[in-house]
């Protein structure tokens, strides 16, 4: 059974602003082929289920319509695994400075 999201919950909605093929004239072909989409977050105006057409109240107090994507959308960005190419740099440059100091 789909989980109902309560009125007032912080949610994310999605909508299509411009369909594929109705983009600005100057965009390249690969961009013409896809729609201009929008994602926005706000408080759900009425209880609903993911996939429903809903209204949210945004942080600026505006009402926006769209498809309910999810409740409590996560901020998923972070760092990830260390990058091999960056790891040795610090010790390399410290060694260069030591060599130079000793060379004086």
């Amino acid at each position: 059974m789909p989980a109902t999201v309560r009125k007032g919950s912080w949610v994310e909605i999605h909508c299509v602003v411009l369909p594929a093929g109705e983009r600005a004239p100057q965009v390249p072909a690969e961009t013409q082929a896809v729609p201009l989409e929008m994602l926005a977050r706000g408080r759900l105006a009425e209880a609903a289920e993911p996939g429903d057409e809903v209204e949210i109240i945004t942080a600026a107090g505006r009402r926006l319509q769209g498809t309910l994507v999810e409740a409590r959308p996560a901020y998923a960005h972070g760092f990830g695994q260390p990058i091999d190419a960056l790891v040795p740099i610090g010790s390399e440059v410290r060694a260069l400075l030591r060599e130079r100091a000793q060379g004086k």
Partner: protein, 469 residues
């Protein structure tokens, strides 16, 4: 309600912008293409003292100038004897939202508040959005930020995801769009719907806010070293950073300081391409903005751009993505300053330029930005790898934007590539002249204007125009 389609809204652009900025740009026209640039800036009403006052009340500015003795030592370790200028850094990350954009936002939002607007809107995927949101919070104004944030696979750039989070943390409404220049169309619709102030990056307020940065750094270098800096390097994208800094430096009376613009080279990547969007590791401070904005500033969201870099830029250089990631690591491990990669574009350029200079000279890196989740080399390089971009050590000259990021193996490999400013100046003159239907309407005022815009002689301006005809 009037038509909301792309063409219909764009047709109303002039009226929407006029209502949201409240500047009658037409008043400043002095010729077929000339306008009174200094008059436009003067009428904004923010001289240095006023700007400083507004900024001091909003916790903006007065950032530290930090000498980087270990970076200087590294420069000298790979320089000829007697070469290797002292490297200083203006730590703009110390501003409230972590970048020099707070200086721009403080004046823009102050102006909006003074004029009685109930809210502000900014179209930006970068630090400016968070800066505007923060200043709006202080001023009690609503804030809406419109970003270009993800591609058709809903993959977001980590740097931009962090900006979204920051704007929302300051209480702003954020609209995230998929790739495309129609960001401007959505922005116009929001302005029209809300009647809010256009906190554009290109209004006089936004440029005058940066003059304090230029003025501060000159006074700080004088206090630290008893002389003016020889070179100041500012990251160059839309031109505002460079314009404001150069004007501030001039106002401090540092007539001999060379103003250098630095951009990350992203040649080959299309800025409106859905497939290229996540193949770059820098979302600003790159050639995708700096080349178009240098050769035609009036492409912005206001009729006359207050950012006019060709008036101020003495030298324009590019660096590669890998070199900026490398110097970001060096800054952290040699100076204990962990700062965001985009804000280190000028530091990468400074390393190479300092090697060319005598060791009694001074080069100032004009900014830093904050770092954290998403706004970090690890996050951006992991995205690059996910997108199939090769990331490896090697000679940075082997880099290919969108295909291969090459992190230098040795500091001696850091270099700058000069952009031919003469070629850009000529391009600008051609673009300007293309705005008038018939170049015979151009008068002496227009020729003088073009000469001032490009620092090219009027004789040469006329030669370029004759070539075009």
């Amino acid at each position: 309600m009037s038509g909301q389609g792309y063409n219909e809204v764009m047709a109303r652009r002039a009226a929407i912008v006029l209502a949201s900025v409240g500047i009658d740009y037409e008043r400043y026209s002095t010729g077929a293409l000339a306008f009174d640039y200094e008059g436009l800036l003067a009428d904004a009403g923010y001289d240095l003292d006023t700007a400083r006052r507004v900024q001091s009340r909003t916790a903006v500015g007065d950032t530290p100038l930090v000498e980087l003795p270990n970076v200087t030592a590294l420069v000298r370790a790979v320089s000829a004897p007697g070469k290797g200028a002292r490297v200083f850094l203006k730590d703009e990350a110390a501003n409230p939202t972590g970048s020099f954009k707070d200086r721009r936002a403080s004046l823009s939002v102050h102006e909006a508040s003074e004029r009685g607007y109930k809210g502000v809107v900014a179209a930006t995927s970068g630090n400016y959005g968070a800066a505007v949101a923060s200043q709006a919070a202080k001023a009690g104004l609503d804030c809406i930020v419109v970003q270009e944030a993800f591609d058709s696979r809903h993959m977001a750039q980590p740097e931009i995801a962090e900006k979204t989070r920051a704007c929302e943390a300051y209480g702003a409404e954020v609209l995230r769009l998929s790739v495309g220049p129609e960001l401007f169309y959505v922005f116009l619709r929001v302005l029209e719907d809300t009647g809010y102030f256009n906190a554009s990056l290109y209004t006089p307020y936004s440029i005058l806010g940066i003059e304090t940065l230029g003025d501060e750094l000159i006074r700080q270098v004088r206090a630290a070293a008893g002389r003016d800096p020889d070179v100041v390097i500012a990251t160059h994208a839309g031109g505002g950073n460079l314009t404001g800094t150069a004007r501030g430096i001039a106002k401090a009376g540092a007539g001999q300081t060379q103003m250098v613009g630095a951009s990350v080279d992203l040649t080959g990547l299309h800025m409106a391409s859905d497939t290229d969007f996540n193949r770059k590791s820098f979302t600003t401070g790159h050639t995708g903005f700096s080349i178009p904005f240098t050769t035609w500033p009036d492409r912005a969201d206001v009729p006359r751009n207050a950012a006019r870099p060709l008036r101020y830029m003495d030298r324009f250089v590019t660096v590669t993505q890998g070199e900026v990631f490398y110097i970001t690591q060096v800054l952290a491990e040699l100076e204990g300053l962990e700062r965001g990669p985009a804000g280190n574009t000028s530091l990468a350029a400074a390393f190479a330029i300092a090697r060319e200079m005598d060791d009694d000279r001074i080069v100032v890196v004009q900014e830093t930005e904050y770092t954290g989740a998403g706004k970090h080399p690890i996050a951006q390089l992991n995205l690059a790898r996910e997108m199939g971009v090769e990331v490896r050590r090697g000679d940075p000259r082997d880099n290919r934007p969108g295909r291969r990021i090459v992190i230098p193996e040795h500091p001696a490999q850091l270099a700058v590539t000069d952009v031919d400013l003469d070629r850009l100046r000529r391009s600008y003159v051609r673009n300007a002249v293309a705005q008038v239907p018939d170049s015979s309407v151009l008068s002496p005022i227009d020729f003088a204007f073009l000469a001032a815009e490009t620092r090219v002689s009027e004789v040469e301006v006329r030669e370029i125009i004759d070539e075009v005809r």
